[in-house]
């Protein structure tokens, strides 16, 4: 790198992807060589219904700049109703996190099917832009290791 | 400068060996990294140390080696929690932390000139092994009378230190009795629970001390047998387990009455325990 040139900020995003749709969608994006930013760290979960709100909070606490949670489209759940149940949780999580002061755009939810490789790339691109615009995580859940406020 | 008792010394895990058939107990051999550390780590059979698996935490384990085995210390640890799991998975060559030695030890001075009956069950045999090895050492053997070891496990595969036991079988300096709970193919020695076998073997209590370590149930049923054989509570010793953190008698969790097991124990005589509340 040339001196003085700064590397553009690349956020780290924890992506919780359901095994049957979104993970397969990510796979398809890879196989099809659809370009998207290398910002996500994928964690495969069996179903979006498996998402515990603590996963999201802990990712933020440990310094992820953003979180993406993605599952099958409603109606397409491999387990019939996992994402329907998850949807109720997600709505509440999203609302509460904003309420306590987490910036809009840090935590993102989407539905991506196994056939939507292009769309997966688009979603990651969009989420990356949003998180990048917010800058590094200095948010309400970021634990700095000090242990006390003083 | 004063020693900071919370700072571990760094030791190298040179051997991580599976000890039992159920693969739940491993023996870790740790090597001192310099003379100074080893000098400072003067211990006696019965003492324990806080072993750090960095990244996972710290937990107390009885030292299985005897001070007569220089350069290393060993721990035999069952896989139960966060730290022990991490240790079991640890690659040889990894650096770990050790704080200690901690606690009191078996009264080896008081035992001098006496016969010893060592009774152990399951994987609580670690510090008992330390004591046996200590007494068998040529420098110490003459200090003690007859040594009888009664050691039992659920099945032959769960006995610790199998090679050493085989050696003791033929060693005239020690009388080894091994037993398993239920008959097993190929097993020709005793079958039965420790209390029963102790009663059968019936070691004489004359001029003799007994040291008993094992699961609570084993201890509970062995004590009356020893009493019947004529052992007074002052001559029966045991080593207790407690959840511990600091190991220094400060953090407050391992007390039995006013005594801290980490600092005032872990070795107690039955006479001492009778004075304490039965909260262990």
């Amino acid at each position: 790198m040339i001196m003085g040139e700064t590397k553009p900020y690349e956020p780290k995003i924890a992506a919780f992807l359901c095994n049957w749709c979104s993970y397969a969608g990510a796979d398809l994006a890879g196989v099809g060589r659809f370009q998207y930013p290398a910002t996500i760290r994928t964690i495969r979960v069996p179903c979006s219904g498996r998402i515990n709100p603590l996963y999201i909070l802990k990712a933020m606490a440990n310094g992820a700049d953003g979180v993406l949670v993605s599952g099958c489209h409603p109606g397409d759940c491999h387990y019939m109703s996992g994402n329907y149940v998850a949807r109720r949780k997600f709505a509440l999580i999203d609302s509460l996190l904003k309420h306590v002061g987490l910036e809009e755009g840090r935590v993102n939810f989407s539905w991506v099917s196994a056939a939507e490789g292009v769309r997966f790339a688009e979603v990651v691109k969009g989420v990356t832009e949003r998180v990048a615009a917010l800058g590094p995580n200095t948010g309400v859940f970021k634990v700095d290791g000090g242990g006390t406020d003083e | 400068m004063e020693q900071n008792p919370y700072l571990p010394i760094t030791m190298k895990l040179i051997k991580n060996m599976c000890e039992t058939e159920d693969k739940l107990i491993n023996t870790f051999t740790l090597q001192f990294q310099n003379k100074q550390d080893e000098e400072n780590f003067k211990y006696m059979p019965g003492q324990f140390a806080e072993l750090s698996a960095y990244g996972h935490g710290e937990a107390p384990f009885g030292i299985a080696t005897s001070p007569t085995e220089p350069g290393i210390i060993k721990f035999s640890v069952a896989k139960v929690g966060c730290v022990s799991n991490a240790l079991h998975l640890m690659e040889e060559g990894t650096m770990v932390g050790v704080r200690g030695p901690m606690g009191n030890y078996y009264p080896m001075e008081e035992f001098k000139g006496k016969n010893l009956v060592i009774i152990g069950g399951g994987f609580a045999f670690t510090t008992l092994r330390s004591m046996a090895v200590y007494m068998l050492d040529e420098k110490h053997r003459a200090d003690y009378g007859d040594i009888t070891v009664i050691y039992g496990a659920r099945n032959p595969g769960l006995l610790l230190y199998k090679e050493e036991l085989a050696e003791w079988e033929t060693n005239p300096n020690i009388n080894l009795v091994t037993t398993i709970d239920r008959p097993a193919e190929g097993w020709t020695k005793h079958v039965g629970f420790i209390p029963t076998i102790t009663e059968q073997v019936a070691p004489s209590s004359v001029n003799t001390y007994a040291v008993v370590c094992g699961p609570p149930a084993m201890i509970k049923y062995t004590l009356p047998v020893l009493e019947k054989l004529g052992f007074p509570p002052e001559r029966i010793y045991t080593s207790l387990e407690m959840r511990m953190k600091c190991g220094l008698g400060i953090c407050g969790r391992c007390n039995i009455g006013p005594k801290y097991v980490c600092k005032d124990g872990p070795v107690f005589s039955m006479a001492q325990l009778k004075e304490l509340p039965s909260e262990y």
Binding site: G147 | L7, G55, G57, G93, I250, C251, G252, C254
Partner: protein, 338 residues
Amino acid sequence: MKISKEKFGQSFDALTAEYQVVAPVSEAGAVNFKTAKSFSEVKQDYLNSKLPPKSLLFPQHEKLLSYVKEGKDITVKNELKVGKTVLFGIRPCDAKAMLLLDKVFKNDQYRDPYYFDRRDNTVIIGLACNKIAPTCFCSSMGISPACSEGSDLLLIDLGDSYNVEVITEKGKELLASLGELSELSAQEQALVDTVKSAQTTSKVDVSTITAKLDKMFDNSYWDTLHEKCLGCNACSFSCPTCHCFDISEEVIKSEGSRVRTWDACMAPLFTLHGSGHNPRDKKKSRWRQRMMHKFNYFVHNNGDIACVGCGRCIKGCPVNMDIRQAIDGVNKAEVVVD
């Protein structure tokens, strides 16, 4: 002898250059001990701090060491850091509590360097209580609202000035940097005498409790005492003498630290073995431990009762468990003599 508050304030501000000066400060609706940059921040007419000042010597969360893992190697760093501190305005009960903590963090075999390096570098300016709360019962614990035990200097608020009493050498040294003293007026002397002779209105009898508890481990008293307790740590964390702690690991990737955090005997996990066995698995045994530790074990080990009568646990308890009633209960319990 007295020092005017104006002059004391100036000296206080000057001290902040050399010392970390910790004083009662009102923040988020409560008075607590915090680092003060100026005397004007100090809340002077406070009854007592919401949380005890023990955290200055024994923080709720403290790094003992940190480390970096690289492959199989490890680099460990001691996290012991100490600066000089002046602790201003602590009440006699809390000052006494520090003496009790001293006995915990040093025993026949070990000395806790994290606690003592702070302790040895701290000068304590006690402030006697002009007002006594109905939940205060320090008089029953061998302390009084103007007790000097544990303080290096003891102040009594006289309105515009403080009566100053030198208790220790450390206090004498600090006094030199505080400014000139002047004589008390007769009226002020009378006020000093009033404060010094004051007693708490609430009292308990602990004269025989230790001996009584010696015989009470298996008493049926414990069967009901604990019943309404929720098992939270509010009492322990607000107690100036409770000192139990946990040591745990905090790790992100290859870097971590070992920290100690407050813990308490009321939590079931406190004594849970790896095997699943728990010697104090019931709320009953945990309450017995709390009482025994404060009024019996601690006395056997350290010669003192581990309660200073500050009343914080009474005020903080969500279900109004009152340690004064618990003490009364022990006094009234029938003991079977064998």
